[in-house]
Symmetry: C2
Subunit: 279 residues, 2 copies
């Protein structure tokens, strides 16, 4: 039996999603809670995640899956399975508000948290010279002194979308493709004047969102033109014209899956496209 | 010369506004920065604040004043006084985002941060059983499992407004009046379903906002009726029907002052009304 787990977290206190020896990670906390909630030996709990967030990155719509034996789940079976499982895992996660368990459900046939998604949506928050800087939000908002040209950032976003090789925005990994479909990259100001960047793609290679934001900030400051950035993208080489922006401004807000009937086919297709997929 | 200082802070790491030996406070941090920014001996810096926030309470619209000698300010005088003074005090406050200096300006004649205000506006955030619980906002939002009846909370709010003795909502202090004009106490849900309480009065006695919120929560849970709470208010005695709600959900969002010409008269009136005023 496969469980789908939807969760949110404040990444501030974590060294990212992925388990690492001696460091606090969301995965380690969750797997420990799963083991206690469902009485599984901890070494048997292996979660597979949709978005492997870096140290300090937040999530409001993270998804992972874990396989559990039918026998262990048998006592929870029945009409209220999701409610019972959710309540039990919430209990095991404890009172801390750093991780919020949204729901545990039985995953449909063919569901794979990492390979089935149609798209992933990230948000990046920047309070610039024109924004109200709210200290209560500084855990998930980048503060900069300069005023940015949101219009120009939007233009860049539009110019970068589509199916492209994003090698110049990715930390290269041997054998991994850097071809992605960037579906959306747009900027708008909220009521506080905070610039909210939305970046959507089928998948992202490592540090890609924060590099795209860095390119937008370079354009927003007037340090680079849209044409320049597009040329640098097509040069497929790393550049110092933009920086990988700080982690704390970034949040994974949504992972979108196809209808149940198409899950397995989608996973098959994704595996085929990316030799060594990274998300 | 009197300076008006507008500032915002995340109260999480502070033992409140007021200076206390050995404990981190907003006032101590600010006075230390003022001394360094304007080269005043620290023992001569005495700030007077509009809202003496408790430990863990936040502010996005706090106001205080400080008196400084004309000689010390002489080098900064000129057209850009406010900009220069603001930049210098920001520099002295350093890189931390826990306190955000909004502005330093020369206060108009008769301005008193504590006694001149017409009204103070607080916000209290509750994510209940019907809200999305966002861990990125858990520093300034109370989480509760139950679902609250926002309509009933609103009705209570309306029933409590007006000029009344709020003794049953206040921690009593000898010689201090507990008569206040509660101008607004209302509740509405934001896009995440988070209940936002707005509480406005000319001034508040100690723990009054958090007690009013406690009464609203008791009504929202169905544990008390609006009539019951109104009777308990008129009984002028402390009660266990409601609790003083946790500090971290509370933010001082605005302090409103009259036009410059009425500042001194307003301060005079306030001093006359409250024998030992507390805000």
């Amino acid at each position: 039996m496969r469980l789908r787990i939807d969760l949110a977290y404040d990444g501030t206190g974590f060294s990212g999603w992925a388990k690492q020896p001696e460091l606090p990670s969301v995965q380690a906390r969750l797997e420990n809670a799963l083991a206690r909630a469902f009485r599984i030996p901890e070494s048997d709990v292996r979660t597979v995640v949709a978005g492997r967030t870096d140290s300090g990155v937040h999530a409001t719509g993270q998804v992972c899956h874990v396989d559990v034996s039918d026998e262990l789940m048998a006592p929870l079976r029945g009409d209220g399975f999701a409610e019972t499982a959710t309540r039990r895992l919430r209990g095991a996660l404890g009172k801390s508000s750093a991780i919020r368990l949204i729901a545990v459900t039985e995953a449909p046939e063919g569901f794979d948290a990492r390979f089935s998604p149609l798209r992933r949506r990230y948000e990046y928050r920047i309070a610039d010279g024109r924004s109200t800087k709210d200290p209560r939000h500084s855990n998930h908002t980048l503060w900069i002194d300069e005023s940015l040209d949101g219009e120009a950032m939007n233009q860049l976003g539009q110019s970068l979308t589509g199916l492209h090789d994003f090698a110049s925005f990715c930390r290269q990994r041997e054998g991994a493709t850097t071809i992605r479909t960037l579906e959306q990259h747009s900027w708008q100001r909220d009521d506080d004047g905070v610039l909210i960047g939305t970046v959507v793609a089928d998948a992202f290679c490592h540090s890609m969102v924060r590099s795209l934001v860095g390119a937008a900030v370079a354009v927003g400051k007037g340090a680079a033109s849209v044409d320049e950035i597009v040329k640098l993208r097509d040069a497929l080489e790393r550049t110092s014209v933009w920086k990988t922006m700080p982690a704390h401004g970034l949040t994974l807000v949504e992972v979108e899956y196809p209808p149940a009937a198409e899950l397995a086919a989608r996973a098959e297709k994704t595996r085929g496209t990316r030799e060594l997929p990274s998300d």
